[in-house]
Amino acid sequence: MKILIVEDEEMLARALAEKFGKSGFDTAIAHTGNTALKMAGEYKPDVILLDILLPGKSGIQVLRRLKAIKKLAKTPVVILSNFSQEIDIKHALEIGARDYIIKTQYPLSQLVERIKTIVSVKQNLI
């Protein structure tokens, strides 16, 4: 399973990549929205972990763009953010995010399980 991690905080990106790597995922990291869009097209991940606060394009803009690209629209996107306002969560889910996870509330192991569930659902659908 391939996972694209879109996170501008270096420490967090590395921690996520290490954990998902140990859990059997192939990982790629993008630090900006534009890079994320480019890599999504080239890397063709099975799932995208997307932060909201990014330099340049925001995570919401990236999400909207991903859903507009036919080839990428079905790729599940999970928002991983520390913004916990109801309006942010609602907005993201309306645009098409599969889930919205607040970083401080999820241990890494639980996060991995959650992503595995989402990916397996996608694979079952396929």
């Binding site: 520390n82 109801e86 970083k103």
Partner: protein
């Protein structure tokens, strides 16, 4: 009357009084001499008798105590005319009783010295003084003379009649003249009326000459002058004119210049007296009515001016109100708008007048969907007869004519008169600034919480990864300690964020049916293990009935968990924690009680304060943030409930916390996001 009369007999006269007595006596005597000079039918009976008027005026103006001047005056007057001392005494008695009776009745029933201010009291005065009093004087006087043989029986009637009418004339002509000129208000004449007044005087003099020299009919000349005077110059001038022309007429008659219808000069004088007396009554009455109407008109104008001033003040206040003000009738049609409303709606009052508010300005919700007319605040206020208040949480927007939207807060109040709605008043505030502040606040909270959480997330995950590595147990223990501290920080940030949301009214909530009893049992099951470690038994006594409330479950579960956890934490080993529910007509009360130590006195007032932790709590549970009870209180109060504790308990040890929730729940709209505020 008896008291006053007694006082007149026992009154101690001052020097001034004695001087007045003497003066009154002198005037009475001289006037009497003049009157008796007109006597023809009997030396003591004259058709012209001014002393009656002088006497009545004196007692009304000065008081009953001056009666001796009248008595002595009358006695001296008639003693020198005819009869014996007894007849003079009788006449004096009658002449003294006359003004006393007239004065008493006038004071009692005709407003005393204000008798000439109204038609009704003028006629009463005429009857009391001019008929009753004069009748008493005529009867006693003529009878005294008749008994002594000075009035033959066959002339009794004519003598009595002459006496009566002479006294009546004196009362109706002389008394009003004296009383009106004795009034405190001064006679003033404005400059522009001097020519008219001079003309009236001239006309009166000419009329007097015409009566006196040319024998012109008195009434034909006098009446127009009396009407003119009554209409334009008031009672005093009118009565003065009456006296002046009456004197001229009487002298003319007496000199034989002209004869009225009558066989003898006495008959002419009697007829003249009657005419003049009636004329005097009529025109003094007319002048009184005109005066009263003028006063009423003046008062009316003053009241009108006051009303205009009050209205101007009211308008100034309305126009100065900082918010937009709209007043509608009971149908919701605009009847008043202040300048702020005109600016907000971009409509002038002249154009908007009479139009329903819905036609003048559109209201939308935050999504741009127009609010239906029936659901607009003014319509709701008119139909429900209750005040409707909206806040920034209701997200209402007025759409201006140019299409721009402004967020508004609005209060619509029905105007109720005699239990019926007659209209509504709406105050509308442009809350763009408040919205912006809210937005900035929310943005700040959002960014601040995000920035605080980011390094905490890094620490959390990196420690998790480290714990998966091969490390010594001691190293792992240290990492676990760091992890727990980090979790405490994360919880603190979450709590602070929650508090900020609740206090700002931006905490999201969604209500669903919550079975309180089942929820309590679920939570108790979760805490069994924790309680078991201390051998603390958890008991549950459930009140009868189904306790399902439509609330956001978090708003009950979090406070309940917090208090339950505290109860178990502070319960001694091998003790119990009891949870029980009970209901009243309007509330469900959940009580959590332990056998732990009582809350210290110095802690009780502050227990629900933000960040407060008592010493005991700091010892037993050092990791607490001091926010749990504060947040619990906010949550419960958002449901319209309350939270409190009892410590120490009566007859037992321990602490009991109570959570009261109203049934049905009364959501506090100031606390809950996305709840429309209505029906205040």
């Amino acid at each position: 009357m008896r008291k006053k009369l007694w006082r007149t007999f026992t009154y101690a006269y001052t020097k001034k009084d004695l001087a007045i007595l003497f003066g009154l006596f002198a005037v009475y005597f001289v006037a009497g001499k003049v009157g008796l000079s007109f006597a023809s039918v009997n030396p003591s009976a004259s058709a012209i008798w001014p002393p009656t008027g002088i006497a009545v005026a004196a007692l009304i103006l000065l008081g009953y105590r001056f009666w001796p001047a009248i008595f002595i005056g009358a006695l001296f007057l008639h003693a020198g005319v005819q009869g014996t001392f007894s007849t003079s005494l009788g006449i004096a008695l009658g002449n003294t009783l006359e003004p006393i009776i007239g004065t008493y009745l006038t004071n009692r029933f005709a407003n005393g010295r204000k008798a000439f201010e109204e038609m009704q009291s003028i006629f009463k005065f005429a009857f009391f003084a001019g008929v009753l009093g004069a009748g008493v004087s005529a009867t006693i006087g003529v009878t005294s003379l008749a008994l002594a043989g000075f009035v033959p029986l066959n002339t009794y009637a004519s003598v009595w009649f002459t006496w009566l009418l002479g006294d009546t004339g004196g009362a109706l002509i002389v008394a009003p003249f004296l009383i009106l000129w004795a009034e405190k208000s001064s006679f003033t004449l404005s400059r522009n009326r001097v020519p008219e007044f001079s003309l009236l005087i001239l006309a009166s003099l000419v009329a007097g000459w015409m009566v006196f020299e040319a024998s012109f009919p008195f009434i034909s000349l006098a009446i127009p002058l009396f009407v003119w005077s009554a209409l334009r110059f008031g009672r005093r001038i009118t009565v003065t004119l009456i006296v002046f022309l009456s004197v001229i007429a009487i002298i003319s008659i007496f000199n034989g210049n002209y004869m009225l219808v009558g066989k003898t000069p006495n008959d002419s004088l009697i007829i003249a007296q009657m005419c003049i007396s009636v004329t005097a009554l009529t025109f003094i009455g007319m002048a009184a009515i005109i005066r009263k109407n003028k006063i009423m008109l003046k008062n009316l104008r003053q009241e009108e001016a006051k009303i205009i001033e009050a209205k101007a003040k009211e308008d100034a206040i309305l126009m100065s109100i900082g918010d937009a003000l709209v007043v509608t009738d009971k149908e919701g049609a605009i009847i008043l708008m202040n300048p702020q409303a005109e600016r907000m709606f971009e409509w002038k009052l002249e154009k908007a007048f009479g139009w329903p508010v819905a036609n003048v300005v559109m209201i939308e919700d935050e999504n741009g969907v127009p609010i239906e007319k029936e659901k607009r605040p003014i319509t709701l206020a008119l139909t429900s007869q209750k005040k409707i208040t909206t806040t920034d949480q209701d997200n209402l927007y007025y759409v201006k004519r140019n299409g721009t939207r402004i967020p508004v807060g609005l209060t619509a109040t029905p105007v109720i008169l005699d239990n019926a709605v007659v209209g509504a008043i709406a105050l509308v505030r442009d809350i763009t600034f408040e919205k912006e502040i809210d937005r900035s606040k929310n943005e700040f909270i959002s960014i601040a919480s995000h920035q605080l959480r980011t390094p905490l997330s890094s620490v959390k995950w990196i420690i998790e990864l480290l714990l998966e590595d091969r490390l010594a147990e001691t190293q792992k223990n240290k990492l676990r300690d760091i992890y727990h501290s980090n979790e405490r920080l994360i919880n603190l940030v979450n709590d602070l964020l929650n508090i900020t949301h609740i206090e700002n009214g931006t905490l999201p909530s969604s209500s669903s049916p919550v079975n309180i009893s089942e929820e309590i049992q679920r939570q108790l099951a979760l805490f069994q293990e924790t309680a078991g470690k201390k051998d603390v038994a958890i008991l549950y006594k459930k009140a009868e009935g189904d306790h399902t409330l439509l609330i956001d479950p978090v708003f009950f579960i979090e406070p309940f968990k917090n208090i339950l956890e505290n109860a178990i934490t502070y319960a001694p080993k091998n003790s119990k924690v009891e949870v029980r529910t009970e209901t009243t007509h309007t509330s469900l009360i959940v009580t959590i009680q332990n056998d732990g130590p009582a809350i210290k006195k110095e802690d009780r007032e502050k227990l629900f304060n933000k960040f407060y932790r008592g010493r005991k709590a700091q010892t037993i549970k050092p990791s607490g943030s001091g926010l749990g009870l504060y947040i619990a209180k906010l949550h419960i109060e958002s449901l319209g409930g309350s939270i409190w504790f009892d410590s120490p308990l009566k007859n037992t040890k321990g602490v009991a916390f109570h959570i009261r929730m109203p049934m049905p729940p009364q959501i506090n709209p100031l606390r809950i996001h996305n709840t429309r505020t209505v029906f205040v």
